[in-house]
Amino acid sequence: MEFTTQDKGRYTEVSASGRLNMVAAPKLREVINEVVSGGGKRIVVNLADTSFMDSSGLGALIGCLKLARQSGGDLRIAAVQPQVNMVLELTSMHRVLTPHATPEEAFLND
């Protein structure tokens, strides 16, 4: 899985391309940790190119959300694909990580 980070001004966008499984999950934690350490408060994880997520990947996203909130910020997700959406709904985690249609919309009303 490849991660790219972009400063979008109002937020930092982290794009995740590939499969967010037990192999990629620790890398996501590292990437988000760097963003938070660098002062990033508003983080959007763009999942448009994430074709698969399992409970390890979801666990990493949840851990990253907690980290962002502990530092006074927030983490949101956008552009989820059908398999990722299925996992979010099966686990009820769509209620804490509500998918936004696009990264631009994730912090639109804040």
């Binding site: 399992d54 409970s55 099966l90 804490v96």
Partner: protein, 152 residues
């Protein structure tokens, strides 16, 4: 005897590479069995990867053994089946609770209580029609089966 319409197998040391390879053979399986509805492919793939990841993350080898992950995936008329073997593993103690607790109703509690392993097992249970785990010789065997419109 049920006719097997597509089949893929894998046997590898139980490590991260085995999971990446398993994604690859699942992709190949669906190329051979493109008639399986997309929702069934998605649900079955997720359950298989969850079960195999559980083996890699939590499997304990018997003394003097190397832990291997064995996977046998078959598509038959009306049914998808995965036999996932933890070869050279110590017996499961306790046997995993495949039902697990239901998710909390309060979003804050959901966030605090998230348990990766327990949630993964609950997902497997929700994504397949039947799941069993049993001991055969030096191997713990998970059998996942999902009813599907495949091949009908």
């Amino acid at each position: 005897m049920t006719d097997i319409l597509a089949r893929r197998t894998l046997e590898k040391p139980a490590g991260e590479q085995a999971i990446e390879d398993l994604h690859g053979i699942l992709d190949q399986l669906w190329l051979d069995a493109a008639f399986v509805p997309a929702l069934d492919q998605m649900a079955f793939t997720t359950a298989v990867i969850e079960a195999a990841s559980n083996v890699v993350q939590h499997g304990v080898p018997e003394a003097g053994c190397d832990l291997l992950l064995g996977v046998d995936l078959t598509v038959a008329t009306g049914r998808l089946r995965a036999v996932i073997s933890e070869i050279g593993a110590a017996p499961l103690d306790p046997v995993p609770d495949l039902d697990g607790p239901p998710p909390a109703s309060d979003p804050d509690a959901l966030l605090e209580d998230y348990d990766e392993s327990g949630r993964g097992l609950s997902m497997i249970r929700a994504l397949v029609t039947t799941v069993t785990v049993e001991r055969q010789g030096d191997t713990n065997v998970w059998v996942l089966s999902r009813d599907s419109g495949a091949g009908n």
